[in-house]
């Protein structure tokens, strides 16, 4: 299938052109954050403190890698289940977060937030962390070092493979895909 080339930052103009089901190769910068980092960021927002990175037009990758072997840039680095971040996603979207990469379903509230903020939810392939590590060219821990695998990492990526799972119109591949291939049994 044909792949769309996408550079970061993910501006509104770039985001609205992406359609549910598109296969995309992202190059540029991603930031990782999982459950624990989300809790801290939400706390920072509440206390009006600065965040570890600028959210506007950025992309968060829900992932925590394996430790890299000496000499390797990256360990295994695939996506984690996104729904665990659902309850903490809206405040980030409202601060300008434009893209999220993870795997699996999102709540109706998050889908509404995606539409409202013209954001995009991408799915990376769950259980393909070795392959995904090939597109990671640099990793830097920028916050919450004490969280180990859950620390916030700044990744520089080249041709990072994802699928548009929910586009700016709220169209979701998990519904459309299932309906298309559903059969009577």
């Amino acid at each position: 299938m044909e792949k769309i080339i996408l550079d970061t930052p993910l501006t509104e103009k770039r985001a609205v052109n992406l359609k549910c089901g598109d296969m995309v190769l992202i190059s540029g910068t991603l930031y990782t954050a999982r459950d624990a980092a989300h809790l801290r960021m939400i706390d920072n927002i509440r206390q009006k403190k600065t965040l570890p990175f600028e959210l506007k037009d950025s992309i968060i990758y829900y992932a925590g890698p394996t430790p890299e072997r000496p000499g390797n840039i990256s360990g295994s680095f695939g996506p984690t289940t996104s729904s665990r971040m659902d309850k903490m996603t809206l405040p980030l979207l409202d601060q300008g977060l434009r893209g999220m990469i993870g795997k699996g379903l999102r709540s109706p509230e998050v889908i509404e937030g995606i539409k409202r903020n013209k954001a995009v939810y991408f799915a990376a392939i769950g259980g393909a962390g070795a392959m995904i590590s090939n597109s990671i060219k640099g990793i830097e821990i920028i916050a919450y070092d004490d969280l180990g695998t859950e620390a916030v990492r700044k990744l520089s990526v080249k041709d990072f493979p994802v699928v548009v799972a929910i586009d700016t119109f709220g169209e979701c591949i998990y519904d459309s895909g299932r309906n298309k291939y559903k059969k009577e049994f």
Partner: protein
């Protein structure tokens, strides 16, 4: 009595966990190879290709197949005529896990206590199931269980009158509700009968079976086939992007139960089905 040093068990455990995180059994690879030809959705076929690429890269570059290198689950079948020497067996298993996760560059995903959630930093303790069996051998079955799929498991105490249909519906609904979250294509382990915890353990054990091997009891073998057909008609497909391959297999195990009960447990494993067996 036959003496067996638990240090030997420790070494086996260490080796098994490092190996299984970098290389799956041939059964999964053969399945993916076959299915990429017949998967109906183009994006689904592309996913299956990627999974095969991923397996090759993991093996060649010794990068774990998945970053969630799991919680360690170990089944120990210990012959009645074995006398264990050296370390306490539980410590030996945990030491094997500790060394595997530290020396094998695997992710440490275990927290000490469920609420405060402080990481133990060495992926211990393992969940260990002991069984005493006849003979003088020890069989170790080890599994690295990822939680994307583990979290999608369910247990239900059905009524005996719910029967076969009740079981089928509960299993199919569980997989259907899970949708993309457990990283399909999945393996579905089902435990039927016993008590609540027995059904759950059986559902986990069922995941150790070679992929697609039917239960030798014809009734259960037929139910496995029926459930598999229904799951694959759901349309969920590889990674939930839509398609005809959602589950690779359904494995059921059963046990005698009480006149008043029909416990059913469903334990889902992702395509990264990591397990190894060893006999000492």
């Amino acid at each position: 009595m036959r003496e067996v040093s638990t240090l030997l068990i420790k070494e086996k455990i260490k080796k098994m966990f490092i190996e299984m995180n970098h290389e799956l059994g041939n059964d999964v690879e053969a399945f993916l190879n076959k299915t990429r030809e017949i998967e109906e959705s183009p994006i689904g076929r592309e996913v299956l290709e990627n999974l095969l690429d991923n397996l090759a890269i993991a093996k060649e570059k010794q990068i774990p197949i998945c970053q969630d290198t799991g919680m360690a689950v170990v089944f120990l079948q210990i012959g009645q005529e074995v006398a264990l020497t050296d370390m306490f067996i539980e410590e030996a298993v945990n030491q094997g896990v500790r060394e595997a996760y530290q020396e094998g560059y695997l992710r440490k995903s275990v927290v000490k206590e469920p609420l405060e959630r402080v990481n133990t930093k060495d992926n211990t303790p393992a969940v260990i199931h002991y069984e005493i069996v006849p003979g003088n051998r020890i069989k170790i079955s080890a599994m690295a269980k990822g939680f994307g799929s583990e979290n999608m498991g369910k247990i239900k105490m059905l009524n005996p009158s719910d029967g076969k249909e009740g079981i089928v519906k509960f299993v199919v609904d569980t997989v259907s509700d899970a949708g993309p979250n457990p990283c399909p294509p999945v393996i579905v382990g089902v435990g039927v009968g016993g008590t609540m915890e027995k059904a759950a353990i059986l559902s986990k054990k069922a995941l150790l079976r070679p992929l697609g091997e039917r239960n030798p009891n014809q009734t259960y073998g037929e139910i496995e086939k029926d459930i598999l057909g229904r799951i694959n008609a759901s349309g969920i497909g590889p990674q939930g992007f839509g398609g005809s391959c959602t589950a690779m297999a359904v494995h059921m195990e059963y046990y005698p139960t009480h006149i008043a009960g029909l416990p059913v447990a469903v334990n889902i494993n992702c395509h990264v089905a990591r397990h190894r067996e060893s006999v000492i």
